[in-house]
């Protein structure tokens, strides 16, 4: 009996099935254990960041006068210096890097990232920088997950999963929002909703949230009272989603513009951040609420305790956008989360108040719009309706507004997608061309070595006539040949399908030189090319093979469509099962 037949007789037995199931169960159990470990570590990280920032906030409130102006600058300089020089983390935007590491499949993040963003954002935001902490904690969590995976020598697939655990626990701990942690990881970081991703991310989120609750208590960051809404409100909330997405889009444009502006300053990076911090400090002299995360203002808005005018709110929106632009645009370490919450709540408050001016119709309290506005801006920016819904649900305990949340986050996401391609995190990757959707054929091929799909190719000299070619290769079985010149430099590919009509007409043998038959317009691949590039390049030609040319202009081999197909088919099957 051949080996193939042997294995076939094994496959059907219950013993084999049980063996595979036991393997998978062991895998699942191990994932839970590691999820717990990562959850614990990220839980501690979240607590650490929270405590540090809030201690610094207390410190900050006790300072007045000129020290207060310089504080954000000092914090930014110190933070960025530590990040770059002590922890050697000089990437500018953290979350896109985490996503890229996950989608590319390799799951490796630098070790220093476990602490770099924690320290730098604590200093930047704690000293008054107008930014959020979600980006830094997500990067910290992802880096912790990756580090744990590398300590235990895990496979790529597991490393990626642990990064997702890390980001899940990070959000869960930082905001006391376990469901959001898991959903954020799946919706934004992993981008794939496979059931096997749920086990580790749920575990990690739960453990991290519990660690946070044990150490800091089970507090609701934004306590409020329940509000009743009507059906008429629902239509208004959909409109709010659109408005909020627009506001978020404007904020991102301001940030991008600010980044471009600050990049022209001819100073080392930490000093540029310091400059931004100084500007925030000056702004805070005039308007103290322009500093920091802005959560005090948010609490006022969503509780209906705000006593001022709408104009004041609008003014604060403008000033805080300016402050956030200064903090983040100058390279300061922080995320867009807190600025988005503020923007959303302020825009929502104004929107809700304006609604009341419409005669004949009654709408619910503006506080409700403030709250839903927050969720909408988040959803629109991250192109993540679920994360938007759940984060607000969990940090504001707002199930009474679940329907408005659902509708507004959805309309915000759709509006966001219309306004801009990709989320605030993936935009960078898409414009770089490095964004690959997980599980797609292209993404899987990126990891395959080119040698797996490369075929050798005989070389035919340019000046050979058809007659020479036939006598030399007449009994060959290949269908692709490479045309080369006297020095062996690649000129083009000869496809037998082009030659066939003339193969049997002997009068043409002396008349046709192989250079006439060759296709010199076949797109090339470089020696560094990977199969996914071949996949994409095949989109531009109907030819059955592509040449791979090295730096000296010589042919390394050809990538045949049929072999690429087989390779892709195999990879898709293998990865689907995993």
């Amino acid at each position: 009996m051949s080996r193939h037949e042997d294995s076939r007789s094994l496959v059907g037995t219950s013993k084999a099935i049980v063996a595979l199931r036991m393997y998978e169960a062991r895998e699942g159990f191990q994932l839970m254990l590691f999820g717990t470990l990562v959850g614990g570590l990220t839980g501690l990280a979240g607590v650490l960041l929270n405590l540090t920032v809030h201690e610094m906030e207390h410190f900050r409130h006790g300072i007045s006068g000129w020290w207060a102006v310089w504080l954000p600058a000092i914090g930014a300089i110190l933070g960025l210096s530590l990040q770059r020089f002590v922890f050697r983390d000089s990437l500018s935007h953290g979350v896109p890097n985490v996503i890229e590491s996950v989608t590319s499949g390799n799951g490796i993040l630098p070790r220093g990232m476990c602490l770099s963003r924690l320290v730098s954002s604590a200093l930047t935001v704690g000293s008054g920088g107008a930014a959020g902490l979600e980006g830094p904690i997500v990067v910290t969590g992802g880096a912790i997950g990756s580090y744990v995976a590398r300590i235990f020598n895990m496979s790529q697939r597991r490393r990626v999963l642990l990064i997702a655990c890390g980001t899940s626990g990070a959000i869960a701990s930082m905001f006391n929002a376990p469901i959001t942690g898991m959903i954020f990881s799946l919706e934004v970081i992993l981008g794939e909703w496979k059931s096997r991703n749920l086990v580790p991310t749920i575990t990690s989120a739960a453990v991290a949230a519990q660690v946070s609750r044990l150490l800091m208590g089970d507090k609701v960051p934004f306590p409020r009272e329940e509000i009743v809404h009507t059906s008429a409100d629902l239509a208004a909330f959909v409109l709010l989603g659109l408005v909020a997405a627009g506001a978020g889009w404007i904020m991102i444009k301001i940030l991008a513009w600010s980044e471009k502006l600050f990049s022209r300053v001819p100073l080392p990076a930490p000093l540029v951040a310091g400059l931004g911090g100084l500007m925030v400090g000056l702004l805070a002299l005039i308007v103290p609420q322009a500093q920091g995360e802005g959560y005090d203002s948010v609490r006022l808005y969503i509780n209906g305790d705000f006593q001022g005018t709408l104009l004041a709110v609008a003014l604060l929106i403008g000033l805080r956008l300016l402050a956030t632009g200064c903090t983040l645009g100058s390279g300061g370490s922080g995320g867009v989360f807190a600025p988005s919450l503020f923007l959303g709540s302020a825009v929502g408050l104004i929107f809700g108040n304006l609604l009341h001016k419409i005669p004949l119709l009654t709408f619910t309290k503006p506080e409700a719009y403030a709250l839903v506005g927050m969720a909408s801006v988040i959803a629109g920016l991250m192109s993540a309706p679920l994360s938007g819904i759940f984060i607000i649900l969990e940090i504001c305990k707002s199930y009474d507004l679940i329907l408005p949340l659902m509708l507004a986050c959805l309309s915000a996401t759709l509006a966001g997608r219309f306004l801009e391609e990709g989320s605030v995190y993936t935009r960078e990757l898409i414009s770089q061309g490095t964004f690959r959707r997980r599980g797609s054929g292209v993404q899987l091929l990126a990891d395959v070595d080119i040698s797996e799909v490369l075929s050798p190719c005989s070389e035919v000299e340019m000046h050979q006539t058809l007659g020479d070619f036939v006598s030399r290769y007449g009994t060959d079985q290949k269908d692709v040949y490479a045309l080369v010149d006297k020095e062996g430099i690649y000129q083009g590919l000869i496809f037998l399908e082009d030659v066939r009509p003339y193969l049997f007409d002997q009068t043409l043998y002396p008349l046709i030189t192989m250079a006439s038959i060759a296709d010199c317009r076949v797109p090339h691949l470089g020696a560094e090319a990977t199969p996914d590039m071949a996949w994409i390049t095949f989109g531009g030609t109907k030819r059955p093979a592509l040449p791979v040319i090295d730096g000296h202009g010589r042919l390394v081999g050809v990538v045949r469509k049929d072999r690429l197909f087989d390779s892709t088919r195999t990879e898709l099957s293998v990865h689907e099962e995993s």
Binding site: M462, Q491, D498, Y502, D505, T507, L511, I512, S516, I517
Partner: protein, 215 residues
């Protein structure tokens, strides 16, 4: 610009059946206009680009007209070519042609001579078929075949040693067209009597009629 299904299929370079399937599956952007299904060219182009599907306008082969004849009409028949050597004949021939200004005639001459140096294109019977080896090199707008009747036969270095009295110069845009015309011409030359017919220095009309008759 609005396209119907057939035009959309042509635009994307796929069969109409594919478009119909994608419509059924709901993955291709389309709209209803007065009960008819139609596509917006800009939308299709953007969609095709996003999913890495090339938009290619299919080169519809003009099957009804023999490419050789079409090329001959563009190249024309030129009589009384005066020259004493092969290279001078080629040079004189090139100068009689109507070519796009950006085409470097010196380069063309060099390419023709290069080809002759490998194996003579004088395949026998007094006729030669000079052509550049690789078609895509020259900035041509259309393929052309030009027939030149030499004033005096000259030693071309032909394979059978005979003096050459007639040249058919083939300049084509791409390899497939080139080979088709080359083989069509070679086939015509094999027809008994054609070479003798050429000795009568026929003009364009007569030449075309004869080639069409040869099939």
């Amino acid at each position: 610009m609005s396209l119907d299904i057939q035009q959309a299929a042509d635009f994307l370079g796929v069969e109409q059946q594919k478009i119909e399937r994608w419509l059924r599956q709901g993955v291709i952007p389309a709209r209803q206009q007065g009960g008819q299904l139609c596509f917006e060219q800009d939308q299709l182009a953007s969609w095709a680009n996003k999913i890495n599907l090339p938009c290619r306008k299919q080169q519809k082969a003009h099957a009804h007209e023999n490419p050789l004849i079409a090329a001959l009409k563009r190249g024309g028949v030129h009589g009384d070519l005066v020259a004493t050597t092969r290279d001078k004949a080629l040079e004189a021939a090139i100068s009689r042609l109507q070519l796009p200004p950006k085409l470097d005639r010196g380069q063309l001459l060099a390419l023709l001579i290069e080809r002759e140096e490998i194996v003579s294109t004088g395949t026998g019977g007094g006729v030669a078929i000079p052509h550049p080896q690789q078609s895509q090199v020259l900035p041509l707008d259309h393929s052309l075949v030009a027939c030149f009747h030499l004033d005096q036969p000259l030693d071309y270095g032909a394979l059978d040693g005979q003096d050459v009295f007639c040249l058919f110069m083939i300049l084509s845009l791409e390899a497939t067209a080139h080979l088709k015309m080359l083989s069509a011409l070679a086939r015509a030359l094999k027809v008994p009597g054609f070479v003798n017919f050429l000795k009568t220095k026929p003009d364009l009309e007569a030449l075309i009629t004869h080639i069409e008759a040869a099939g």
